[in-house]
Every structure is written in structure tokens, then in C-alpha cells.
């Protein structure tokens, strides 16, 4: 079967869309972290700044897996490795 450039481009676009589904996981994780941080501030309002710092750090680390999906999608859309 013969695949031309447009077919490969279309498949890359579908693949990019599928890759960005990776964003679901970090979304759930960041939500859980924020919820627990809110509960912690409720229990101990004095430690508010420490809790916020820890929460943001953890969320930024959890975000990484979603960003890997984003990087794959960007590579598929712009660098077009399948067309080389």
C-alpha cells in the first residue's frame, strides 16, 4: 500500500491528539494535592506559606508526565519525524 505525505500528516495529527490525553493524570493528581493542601491549611492556618510552597513544588513535579505528552504532540505536529 502506498502512503503519501498527507496521509502521514493526518495520522500524526491523530497521534498528537491521543498524546495530549496524558493531561488527565496530572490534572487528577494536582487536584488531589490542592485538596489536601486546603485541608492542611484548615487544620493549621499558621503553616500556610510552608504548605503552599510544598504544594506548588509537588504539583510542578506531578505536571511533568502531562508535559511529556505535550512534548510528544508538539514533536508530531511541528517536527514531523514520520515524514523524514
Amino acid at each position: 500500500m502506498d502512503f503519501n505525505e498527507n496521509f502521514i500528516l493526518g495520522c500524526s495529527a491523530i497521534g498528537a491528539g491521543l498524546a495530549v490525553i496524558a493531561g488527565i493524570g496530572p490534572g487528577v493528581g494536582q487536584g488531589i494535592a490542592a485538596g489536601h493542601a486546603a485541608a492542611a491549611v484548615g487544620r493549621n492556618p499558621g503553616a500556610r506559606s510552608d504548605i503552599t510552597t510544598t504544594m506548588l513544588l509537588g504539583q510542578a513535579v506531578a505536571e511533568t508526565t502531562g508535559l511529556y505528552g505535550l512534548a510528544v504532540a508538539i514533536l508530531l505536529l511541528f517536527v514531523k519525524p514520520l515524514l523524514w
Partner: protein
Amino acid sequence: MVFYLEERMVRNMRFSALLSSGSDIDIMVHGLLKYHFFGHEVWLTTTHVSLLIIVAVLVIFSVAAGRTMKKASEVPTGFQNVVELIVEKLDHMVDGVMGKNARKYYNYIGMVFIFLLLSNISGLMGLRPPTADYGVTLPLGVLTFLMIHFNEVRYHKMKEIWRDKCSPLPPWLPIWLPINIISDIAVPLSLSLRLFANVLSGTIIMALIYGLLGWIATIWPAALHVYFDLFSGAIQSFVFCMLTMTYVSNAIGDGE
């Protein structure tokens, strides 16, 4: 056949370097100057230019700061206030994580933090953020990697490092060695990819909004700039420095 493939590759590379396939969307990577380097076609892009601008601003700022601190007065006024505030905040951040090892890392962490903050925010001033280019973030990640392992070798005996690398199993059974080595290599990659992808996603979203919405995108994208450039940029530079400090102080352990 080979020649044909190479020509197509070059064409594709050009398009990918411009990152815009002939539409109105402008992701702000433009080739400015083409030159040949060992037979490869290399472009000077807007990333280089904005990097140079940022470095020039930092150099001017630090020279001015140095001149003010030379003739510093007991009661700070004006510019001396600003410099002391910045240095104090950065030193406090390093102190909080590294404890007794903090003294040696004030300079490096402070430098990296100011540089990353300015580069991430530079999207507000119409520059292309240099950190939206993997060539800028990967060297920073590699520097962190080198610092981690330099400190590991310096503060621990070879035996301890070997035991640590085979850690869940006893040292005479190095089955986990490859996995531990892979997780060591993943550290600089994840550090640099996190920073790069965060800033790049902000840049792309802003470019999509400005490119696709046209005149509808007046005034209100300022709110998005506050999130993507200011908030996200500050958080990411903070996270990069925090993780670097955590990894390095883990590598030092309670050595000495």
C-alpha cells in the same frame, strides 16, 4: 534516492525551525542569519537574540549593583535597598533547603534563579522566551547532573556509592544497578523537559490566541499573560532551583 531524502529533510527542518506552516500563527521562532558549520546549515534564531538581550540586561544590572555595594552606606537607600532585598531573599531560599551546605551554593542558585525568572518573564516584553528552546534548558539540567555526581563522588567513598546504586538488594547482587543508573540519567532530562515544555506551551497558546482570533484578541489576553508568563514562569524557575538544591543536598548527604 539518498539525495532526494536529504533534500526533503532539509526542507522539513527549515519548516520546523520556523514552526509555522504558512499560516498566520507566529510562534516567534524566526531564522535571522544562516551560516554553515562543518557542512551543516545552521540558523541564528530569535532565541539567540533574546538570550543576548537578557544576558546584557543582567550584566548591566550586576555591574550597577556591584558599583553601589562598593560604596554602600550603613542605612541603605534607593538602589542598594533593591539589591540587598534580592540577595537576602535568594540566600534565605537556599538556606531553607540546604542548611549547613548553603554557603557554597548561594552564587549558583541565585544566578540560575534570576536568569530563569528573567527569561520566563521576557515573553511579556515581546521577546521570545529563551527557555522555550530545548538548547537553553538542557545545559542547565546537565549542570545540575554534574553537580549531583561531583558531590556524590566527593563526599562518599566508592563502596558507599556502589551500595547506594544497588540499593534495594545487597551490594553483591547488582540486578538493580541498570535501573538506578537510568533513574539518575532521567533527572536532568525531566528537569529540563519540565521547564522547556511549560514555557513552550505558554508561548504556543498565546501564539494560537493572537493568530487565530484576530481582532477579538484585544485587552483580555493580558490575563492569560499574567498566568502563562508571570505565574507559570516564576513557579517553574522556583521549582527548578528547589529541585536542584534538593538533589545536590541529597547527594552530599550527611558527609564530612
